[in-house]
């Protein structure tokens, strides 16, 4: 009991929390602080969302602030656009990655472009939460990694948290942003735990800064979202093989933090990009290309990519073969042409 009392005071104790709890807390704090914030989507009310991220919010803030919508994603996003036009800050939940696709026209032709179309007169402070990625045994259409579509669309910000703390901080930053933000929530990290102080949640800087999660000298793993813990694990395992890997968590794909990324790659001279979405046409190509453009003479080897295969997301029983795992990452690290320069330093 004493813990509960203590943790309800600001400055209360740090304790383990899940990413789901941090996200929920971010929504609650945003709703409480700013009456313009509205949460809307399918089943976000009484049910609290299929992942329970909005659990209890409808009860606390009422159905006008936390609204179960009809089942129509273009309608959800389209009406959210109208609400944002009128000064509200809608936070839209798309139930799963693949169920955001019906809203694609609204997203591309209006959400991403409204500020530009109106020469800055009309902005859309909209947050679009998309539970994304695989690894949860979901049947088809429940495990897509759709970030390639979003990052290719100028006008959108695209972020993905990998830690409990970032889940809170980035979601607050997204809701506070005056621009539309695609907020990718790695489904399989919802129940990941970290020690975190929910009463004094650290806020992150405004969207757009990568962070070095692990320092290392041999090579850099560039990654984000659900692949961050996998890369951390790979970096640990790599030690046994004599590689001291640096891990950069991009956090934000748009804007892209060239500075942090290039500083790391220039230091290590080698890089592997790791993500779950398909390789071909995925974010890894962009990342590898821009790192190469900027760091060419620092590179001892081409920037390699470890990504999902170029196939539709597999059925649950086969998904482990698709997902980039520790071994596949280490295989890529091994192909970074170490013989030529003794990169084992």
């Amino acid at each position: 009991m004493s813990t509960a009392v203590e943790s309800s005071r600001p400055g209360g104790r740090t304790k383990p929390a899940t990413m789901a709890q941090a996200l929920q807390r971010a929504l609650r704090d945003a709703l409480a602080e700013d009456p313009a914030v509205h949460v809307m989507g399918e089943d976000v009310g009484a049910l609290g969302g299929v992942f329970r991220i909005t659990d209890g919010l409808a009860k606390e803030f009422g159905e006008d602030r936390v609204t179960d919508t009809p089942l129509a994603e273009a309608g959800i996003l389209g009406t959210a656009v109208g609400m944002a036009m009128y000064g509200l800050r809608p936070v839209v939940e798309m139930q799963f990655d693949a169920f955001a696709y019906p809203a694609f026209e609204q997203l591309i032709s209006h959400v991403a472009k409204m500020r530009n179309r109106t020469k800055g007169a009309m902005s859309l402070p909209l947050t679009i939460r998309v539970p994304y990625g695989g690894g949860i045994g979901g049947v088809e259409h429940h495990s897509d990694s759709s970030e390639a579509y979003y990052i290719a669309t100028p006008g959108l910000h695209v972020v993905a948290p990998a830690t409990v703390e970032d889940a809170y901080g980035l979601l607050r930053a997204a809701i506070a942003s005056d621009d539309p933000v695609i907020f990718l929530e790695p489904k399989r990290l919802y129940w990941s735990k970290d020690s975190w102080n929910p009463e004094a949640p650290t806020s992150v800087e405004p969207i757009g800064r990568a962070v070095v999660r692990r320092r290392g000298r041999s090579a850099t793993l560039l990654t984000y979202g659900p692949s961050v813990p996998v890369c951390m694990e790979a970096a640990e395992a790599a030690q046994a093989e004599g590689w001291d890997l640096e891990v950069v968590d991009l956090r934000s794909l748009v804007p892209f933090d060239d500075e942090t990324v290039c500083a790391s790659v220039r230091r290590t001279g080698r890089a592997v990009v790791v993500h779950e979405s398909s390789g071909f046409g995925g974010p890894g190509g962009e990342i590898a290309a821009r790192v190469t453009e900027r760091c060419f003479h620092h590179l001892e080897a081409p920037v390699l990519r470890v990504a999902g295969f170029d196939i539709p997301y597999p059925p649950p029983m086969l998904e482990r073969h698709h997902l980039p795992g520790v071994d596949r990452i280490l295989d890529a690290v091994a192909r970074l042409q170490w013989e030529s320069d003794g990169g084992m330093n």
Binding site: E42, P70, L71, P102, F280, F309, M317, L318
Partner: protein, 385 residues
């Protein structure tokens, strides 16, 4: 103003004003009256209409209902044993599921949503194959051409335009094929529902749209989904007839759907049928329905159970006794046992299938990736030894 109640009377030469000729396309082209549904869902069981119902059909429906109920129970049990990843039950909705399957000829096509494995099974599909998606070994567990059952559609309402296109194609080819497409009450809010019904009506495609209004889209009740008098009332906006039917009355659903199939076959175009029913279980085994609905509501619907409705009629006709009931139940048990056995056998998986069915001809890129995985798996096996 008079738009609501009456019409303004044209006055030909009022104050010298010349009355202009009404231009073409001035009047609605179809009489809306026959398109509108009756205000009460159509029923057969427990009404005078039941007198006309054929005993053989009722018995057939009864058998399928009981087997369907058993199927739902068995599939739910399989989720608890980890043999199914997830199962969306149709307990309480067996009447609509089963009738949808039985009204079709072999050459016709069924377009089920993710919930409608029972309809597929009632059409003759091996239940193990029907449950492939939910077991997780592959996306579609069957060859759609074998029983003319389209893949179970998870993205809501997206299967409806497919049904329209297929029916239209068959008609263009001169084939006597009807497509029956199933969708939930929630799915009617999607744009694809609208576009599919509109195409169907414009093309006069031989399609039947069956909406199972089971009261909920996961947790969202119908009242938050639509303000329409009924979902069947949407039909008039496309120029097709809308029919409201008691979705728990298998005889009524069968009759209404048969009539719709007959119209489609006769080239009279599509029909929208709303079957009013109720989802007795949670959305899926993973859902917690107590968060959004009361036990009292569920109980009220239990009094209107599709199997009980049919049993009363058959008993009344003297067609059912304890023995006959037991025989039907035994059949259902046998069915369930076979399903259990089928699901308890581990599926044979080939990871290489991931690369085989992306394109008709494998690209060199995928060949390389398949090679990579093959090498990884070989290394894995090596280590395991």
């Amino acid at each position: 103003m008079s738009t609501r109640t009456g019409r303004s009377t044209p006055v030909m030469e009022q104050r010298g004003v010349h009355r202009p000729t009404p231009p073409p396309a001035w009047k609605p082209r179809t009489d809306p009256a026959p398109l509108l549904p009756d205000p009460e869902p159509y029923r057969v069981l427990g009404t005078s209409a039941v007198a006309e119902a054929d005993s053989a059909l009722l018995l057939k429906l009864y058998g399928e209902l009981v087997r369907g109920r058993r199927y739902n129970a068995q599939a739910t049990a399989l989720t608890k044993q980890g043999r199914l990843a997830v199962y969306p039950s149709t307990t309480g909705q067996e009447a609509a599921e089963v009738a949808a399957a039985l009204v079709l000829e072999d050459r016709d096509w069924l377009f089920p949503s993710y919930r409608d494995t029972l309809a597929a099974v009632a059409r003759g599909l091996d239940p193990v194959q029907a449950l492939g998606l939910l077991r997780g070994d592959w996306h579609t567990g069957y060859d759609p051409y074998e029983h003319r059952i389209a893949p179970l559609s998870t993205p809501l309402a997206t299967q409806l335009p497919h049904a329209v296109g297929l029916a239209h194609a068959a008609r263009l080819k001169g084939d006597d094929v009807v497509a029956l497409a199933m969708v939930g009450d929630g799915g009617t809010s999607e744009g694809d529902f609208h576009e599919a019904l509109n195409f169907a009506a414009v093309w006069k495609a031989p399609v039947v749209f069956l909406v199972q209004n089971n009261g909920f889209a996961i947790s969202v009740p119908l009242a938050k989904q639509t303000a329409a008098p009924s979902l069947a009332h949407k039909a008039v906006g496309y120029g097709m007839p809308g029919r409201l039917v008691d979705g728990n009355d298998a005889a009524a659903v069968h009759e209404v759907l048969s009539e719709a199939v007959r119209r489609a076959r006769a080239g009279q175009g599509p029909t929208l049928v709303e079957a009013v029913t109720y989802r007795m279980d949670a959305h899926t085994n993973a859902d917690d329905a107590t968060r959004y609905r009361s036990d009292a509501e569920v109980e009220a619907w239990r009094a209107h159970d599709p199997i009980a409705l049919m049993e009363r009629e058959l008993t009344g006709r003297g067609l059912l006794d304890e023995e006959r009931i037991q025989a039907v139940r035994d059949d259902a048990e046998e069915f369930a046992a076979a399903l259990r056995a089928g699901m308890n056998a581990d599926p044979v998986l080939d990871p290489m299938d991931l690369f085989t069915h992306v394109y008709a001809e494998q690209t060199s890129q995928l060949r390389d990736q398949a090679e990579q995985l093959r090498a990884e798996l070989a290394a894995e096996q090596e280590q395991e030894r």
